[in-house]
Symmetry: C2
Subunit: 279 residues, 2 copies
C-alpha cells in the first residue's frame, strides 16, 4: 500500500480493528501497511482509543514489548446496555406477541441484524473478563444470538442439534428432561465440533426452567468440557416452578408476567442489570 496520511490511516485502522475484535495486531503490521513510523502509529491509536472510550464503542488494549500490539475489545457499559434493553423490553411487552401456552413471539426481534448485534455486544461485554474457546447454543432460535455474541468475542460457534445429522459425522447424543414440559428430549453434538477441555459460553434465546441449558451442560461433560458462562436473552420463571435447573446465568430480559386471558405482558430488564436498577 502506498504511504498514507493520518486521516486515512485512522479510518483504515478503525475499520480494520472493528472487523477483527479480540485479535492482537502488531504495531509493525500497521507501520508496514502505511509505511509510517511506529511512533506515528502509536499516536493514531491513542486518538482511536480515546474516541472509542468517549463513544462507549469498546476498549483498545495496547500491549507493549516485542510480542506487543493492539487489540480491540468490543465493550458496552452496563448503563448503555440498559438503555438498549429498555427499548427491547418495551417491544417485547406488546400484547400482540402473546402466543397460545403463554409463549411470546420474538422471532422478528431475533431476526433484526442491528438488534442482534447490540444484544451480542452486551453478552460479549458481560463475559469479556474470561477466555472462552467457543459459544454453544442449541438449534434453532438461539443461533443468531450465539453468532452475534461470538462475532464480538472472535470465537467459533458450536451448534447442538435436536437430532443426529449425517452432515455432522459421528456424534454424541444425550437425553434430557425439558424443565417446563417434563418431556424427554434428545440433543446431539458432532464429535469433531468440540475439543476436549474447552471452556464454553452457552447462549440461548429463552429459558423457562433451564432444562435445555442443563442438557447442554450434561452434553459438555461427555466432551470433558467446562461451562464458563451462561447467557440467556429472555428468562421466564414459571410461578409454579419450585426451582431452576441451573444456578449461575445472566439474563438480559425477564418475562415476569404473561396474562393470556387479558392479553397483557410484562418484560423487564434481566438480572444482568440488577446492580444498576436502583440508579
Amino acid at each position: 500500500m502506498k504511504k498514507l496520511k493520518r486521516p486515512y490511516r485512522i479510518i483504515d485502522m478503525t475499520q480494520y480493528l472493528i472487523a477483527r475484535p479480540h485479535t492482537l495486531v502488531p504495531l509493525t503490521y500497521f507501520a508496514d501497511r502505511y509505511q509510517s513510523a511506529k511512533s506515528s502509529i502509536s499516536e493514531d491509536l491513542a486518538i482511536i482509543k480515546e474516541l472509542f472510550e468517549i463513544e462507549d464503542v469498546g476498549e483498545l488494549l495496547t500491549l507493549a514489548g516485542a510480542a506487543g500490539g493492539v487489540k480491540y475489545i468490543p465493550r458496552i457499559s452496563r448503563q448503555g446496555a440498559f438503555q438498549m434493553m429498555e427499548d427491547i423490553c418495551a417491544e417485547l411487552s406488546q400484547p400482540e406477541r402473546i402466543l397460545p401456552g403463554g409463549y411470546l413471539y420474538m422471532s422478528d426481534i431475533l431476526g433484526q441484524p442491528r438488534t442482534l448485534n447490540q444484544v451480542g455486544k452486551i453478552f460479549a461485554s458481560a463475559f469479556s473478563d474470561q477466555h472462552f474457546d467457543c459459544v454453544m447454543t442449541v438449534e434453532t432460535k438461539g443461533i443468531p444470538l450465539a453468532y452475534a455474541t461470538a462475532t464480538h468475542l472472535n470465537i467459533p460457534v458450536v451448534i447442538v442439534r435436536r437430532d443426529n445429522k449425517v452432515t455432522e459425522g459421528s456424534a454424541v447424543s444425550i437425553n434430557y428432561v425439558s424443565g417446563s414440559s417434563k418431556r424427554i428430549q434428545t440433543m446431539s453434538l458432532g464429535r469433531r465440533a468440540l475439543q476436549e477441555g474447552s471452556n464454553v459460553l452457552i447462549i440461548d434465546d429463552f429459558m423457562k426452567a433451564g432444562g435445555t441449558i442443563r442438557g447442554m451442560m450434561d452434553l459438555l461433560q461427555e466432551f470433558n468440557a467446562h461451562v464458563g458462562g451462561v447467557g440467556v436473552f429472555v428468562e421466564a420463571k414459571d410461578p409454579d416452578q419450585r426451582e431452576l435447573l441451573i444456578e449461575d446465568y445472566i439474563s438480559l430480559a425477564d418475562l415476569t408476567m404473561v396474562d393470556v386471558k387479558n392479553k397483557a405482558v410484562t418484560v423487564k430488564p434481566g438480572n444482568y442489570f440488577t446492580p444498576i436498577q436502583g440508579e
Copy 2:
C-alpha cells in the same frame, strides 16, 4: 456531545457508518453530533469514501438535497471475493472432511465468525444492486450465513422451520420432495414472519439438486412473496442428476468431486466467479 476535531470525527463516523450499513444518515445528524459545519462533515466523508474505495471496504453513497445524506454500502470486489474463496475452497478440500454418503463436514467453517462475515459480505455484494425485504433460509446450518448476509444488507432474517413450532404462532406448512434423497419433507413458516409481496433473498449453505430451495420458493408463493435472488455457499451437482430444480442462483463454491473410497475432494470457486475465472 462536545465539539470534535476532524481525527475524532472521522473515527466516529467510520464506526457509526460501519455499524449501520444501507442506512441513510443525514449530514445534519453528523453536523449536530459534532457541532461542526456541514461543509466540514462533507470533507470528512470524502476522505472516508476515498479510503473505503482504496481498501475495497465498500461504497459511501452521498445523496444530495433536503432528503440527502450518506449511506454505507458494504461491497467487496469480485476479485477480492475470489481470493477469499480460494482460501476457503482449499480448506474445504481437506480429505478429512469426507463423511459417509459423500457429504462434507463444514460446520467448523460455518462456525467461524470471521469467515461467515466475509462470506456474508460477498453475498451482500453480489446482490447489492437489488432491494430485498428480507433474507430467508431453512434451519439449521444456513442460519449463520443468512444472518451474516442480512447484517451487511441491513434487512431481517426469516427462518423456515422443519416442523411447526408453538413459538412461531400460526404457520403455513408445505410438503416438498428433497431433490437428492427423493423423500417427502415438510417445511413451515409462521404467518407473521413474512409480509405479503416481500422481495426475498434465499441463502443456504449447501445445494445438491435444489429441492430444499425449490421448497422455499413454493412456500413463498403461499405468502404471495417474490424470490429476488438465491445464493448458496457450496453447490454439489450429482453426476447422475438430470437437472437442477432451480435455475437462477449464485454459488460461491462448487464441490466438483468427492471420492469416498480414495479420500479425495475437489472444491472450486462457484459460478459467481465465472466472469473472472479466465484472468
